[in-house]
């Protein structure tokens, strides 16, 4: 069944509900972990935190497919978030097929996406936030960052103003950041000091100036909620100057800074905090380790790794306390709700739900919907050209015969399309495309619009490059990126996925160490020779003056390719041959 707006309104009227009742045909299993109404969530306790993260500038509802490969190694093997598909559903007792199994996994993706429709969107999120907040007086709304992009045309062209005003309308109380910093330190400061002043606190305990090490942002804030003093600490993405261009934040230094984190927790407690919440952009594995080494954090509202984890992990701290570690998914798909019952000096009980935002099941907030329409239907000047954003984004470039998606440890089909476009458009033997975890999904048969291309490529350093590289250097790059993904110590991980490759084939054993993971490198059936030279195309170099800059931007390269081809299909996905991961529940064949 494809639930239309009209049908939905009819169901709604019949139910006399406030916009949240589900039609019987869309209902899941009757009780327990498969609730009849996923949005029916009575409050519990006296401290409530609402959390969304990594929406990547998606103001409108989108399709977003969860990964079928999200491998954990060493102690992370099989531990959330490193479970995919059936393994994830089994762990959390979720039935398939159903609304929740579709929200949390890739299983039967196309069929269920056609059935349940799009996810996210700020107008729908706004309605949900209002409903959940109405039941929870004083609840705080936390935004984990990656809200201003990457992966959005309107964000890029308005220098994030589209999202800044949406955050203010939504009623965000506190945020931290990562991709926000790719708009440059000056722009971040301007927004924090002007737009956000008196409305949204931007917190980060781990961003300091490079000279003296003084903090740039406030590290924490204390808010009183129903008589309980709740501290929220901010933790921005620790590896921003490594994963993204350092020159954009040249005067700022980041890092995990777990020693300073302990000091910050202690200071907050000394200031009277009874509950300590960490709003983190570390990524889930880093958050789990942080909870193991830092004492006194009650809950971590986590993001960055885009893991849709249905329930918190209860992690024991160094002094025996328990920290709830959550991760809130991405692309506006989810709203996390944490209720704590704090009495007589300690947390007695908690309730957590990661609510999927299904656009067909939630009435859009009219005010936010009007705002989104107006902000998109706007003329902007970018890169010397003046155009209407909505018109530009709606251009239909080609039709996709296959499902196009990105998320997963290795090439997604949309990555492969980007790599194909790079190789053809700039005449290269091999293409590299970054292992970003953002980028929306296109269903088979749908037109690929310029908006889809911007969802996958819209960032502030879009230069396409073409360089000659030796085989040895190519191996070294793959080894380096693989170690950032699979280092057995999460503090040494950067949190993206593996670099996507076109042309090149290889094998990988994630369980080994740097220098030993990558093998069997081939191009067109011939082994890659260490001393031979290959022409490699890429994009999103973090250098200020990228070597081999072709002068073209990635979205133009992909759009031109699509206009040339009219229809695209990805017959065979170029995934590496996996070794050493037999029985690992973080991988599943599609």
């Amino acid at each position: 069944m494809n639930l239309s707006r009209r049908e939905f309104l009819q169901v709604l009227a019949a139910a006399g509900a406030a916009g949240f009742s589900l039609p019987a045909s869309a209902r899941l299993g009757a009780a327990g972990k498969n609730p009849s109404d996923p949005y029916e969530l009575p409050a519990r306790g006296n401290v409530s935190i609402l959390h969304f993260t990594d929406c990547h500038g998606q103001l409108l509802p989108v399709y977003f497919r969860e990964p079928h490969i999200n491998l954990g190694v060493a102690e992370m093997k099989g531990r959330p978030p490193h479970l995919v598909g059936k393994a994830l559903l089994e762990r959390y007792g979720i039935d398939h097929p159903g609304l929740l199994s579709h929200a949390y996994t890739y299983l039967d993706y196309v069929k269920l996406a056609e059935h349940y429709g799009r996810v996210g969107g700020f107008a729908h999120l706004a309605t949900l936030v209002k409903k959940v907040r109405d039941q929870r007086p004083g609840a705080l709304l936390l935004d984990g960052g990656d809200t201003w992009g990457g992966g959005s045309g309107t964000g890029l062209w308005t220098h994030a103003q589209d999202m800044v005003d949406a955050q203010l309308k939504l009623g965000v109380d506190i945020m931290t950041g990562h991709w926000e910093f790719t708009f440059g330190a000056d722009r971040v400061r301007e927004i924090v000091e002007n737009d956000f002043a008196g409305h949204i606190e931007f917190l980060a305990q781990n961003v300091v100036d490079v000279d003296w090490g003084d903090r740039i942002f406030k590290p924490y804030t204390i808010r009183e909620m129903n008589g309980v003093n709740v501290a929220v600490i901010g933790q921005s993405f620790p590896y921003t100057p490594i994963a993204n261009p350092r020159h954009m934040v040249a005067e700022w230094s980041f890092g995990i800074r777990h020693g300073e984190m302990q000091d910050t927790v202690n200071n907050a407690r000394a200031d009277g905090a009874e509950v300590v919440i960490l709003l983190s952009h570390n990524g889930m594995d880093v958050d789990i380790k942080l909870a193991q080494v830092v004492d006194g954090i009650d809950a971590i509202m986590g993001g960055h790794t885009h893991d849709a984890v249905p329930a918190p992990l209860e992690i024991k701290g160094p002094e025996g306390g328990t920290c709830l570690v959550t991760n809130g998914g991405s692309n506006g798909k989810f709203l996390g709700v944490l209720d704590l019952d704090f009495r007589d000096g300690r947390i007695r009980d908690y309730q957590y739900r990661l609510l999927p935002v299904f656009a067909n099941l939630i009435e859009p907030d009219p005010d936010m919907a009007r705002y989104i329409e107006q902000v998109r239907d706007q003329e902007v000047t970018y890169d010397g050209q003046t155009f209407n954003m909505k018109d530009a984004l709606s251009e239909e470039l080609a039709v996709s015969e296959d499902l196009l998606y990105r998320r997963g440890n290795f090439n997604g089909t949309f990555d492969q399309l980007i790599c194909d476009a790079l190789m053809e458009q700039v005449d290269a033997q091999i293409a590299f495309s970054p292992g970003f975890r953002w980028g929306t999904t296109v269903l088979p048969g749908m037109p690929i619009t310029f908006e889809h291309v911007m969802d996958q490529t819209g960032l502030t350093y879009p230069a396409v490059t073409r360089n000659e590289m030796s085989g040895a250097m190519i191996k070294e790059i793959l080894e380096d990126v693989a170690d950032n993904l699979y280092n057995k110590d999460p503090f040494y991980q950067q949190g993206g996925d593996m670099v996507r490759v076109g042309g090149l084939q290889y094998s990988i054993d994630p369980t080994r160490s740097i220098g030993e993971r990558i093998g069997d490198m081939e191009l067109n059936g011939k082994p890659i020779a260490p001393n031979e030279s290959y022409v490699v195309a890429g994009w999103a170099s973090v250098q200020e003056q990228p070597a081999g800059n072709t002068g073209r931007k990635i979205w133009d390269v992909v759009a031109d390719y699509l206009r040339d081809h009219e229809t695209v299909s990805i017959s065979e996905l170029n995934e590496p041959k996996l070794r050493g991961v037999e029985g690992n529940p973080g991988v599943s064949s599609v």
């Binding site: 993204n244 230094s253 020693g259 960055h304 970054p434 790059i477 949190g495 993206g496 250098q543």
Partner: protein, 154 residues
């Protein structure tokens, strides 16, 4: 993917070392060194320690090294060494994988705490080794700092 950065660096580093830090001091023996400074010419942690501390035999001790797990910039890696040991007279900080591992050594006066922070250049991922002399005895600790290509994250 920031493969281009590596290409650029390869082109600028005559030594061909897999250094990511631009001009990070891929250290071969310097030309103007007094004999007291020969530790800076040593090619190994052991030789450097013999020179600067008079011995390379050391026990593990209660020493904390604070450093980023991943270097943001191989040319500027902040390192802090501190210890609760008493009677500390000397501290040395070494980057084991640099061609010349010794980065710096410190003589502490009486009443000076066993605490020093500085910023060093690293040519490649390396263990950072801190060695303290307390009451004539050497103690050490080490910690890995990764120098990575970067890019691709998020």
């Amino acid at each position: 993917m920031n493969s281009k950065r590596r290409v650029f660096l390869k082109g600028t580093l005559a030594a061909g070392t897999v250094g990511v830090a631009v001009g990070a001091g891929l250290l071969t023996p310097s030309t103007v060194l007094a004999s007291a400074r020969e530790g800076f010419e040593a090619g190994s942690v052991s030789d450097a320690l013999k020179s600067v501390m008079g011995s390379d035999s050391h026990d593990s001790g209660d020493i904390t090294i604070s450093a980023p797990e991943l270097a943001e910039n191989g040319a500027v890696v902040p390192i802090t060494v501190e210890s609760s040991l008493t009677g500390v007279t000397d501290i040395a900080i070494l980057a084991a994988a640099n061609n010349n591992p010794l980065t710096s050594s410190y003589k502490l006066g009486e009443g000076t705490k066993a605490y020093v922070a500085t910023r060093i250049k690293m040519g490649d991922s390396s263990d950072i080794v801190a060695v303290l002399k307390a009451n004539g005895q050497l103690y050490s600790s080490s910690r890995e700092v990764k120098v990575t290509i970067g890019g691709c994250g998020g």
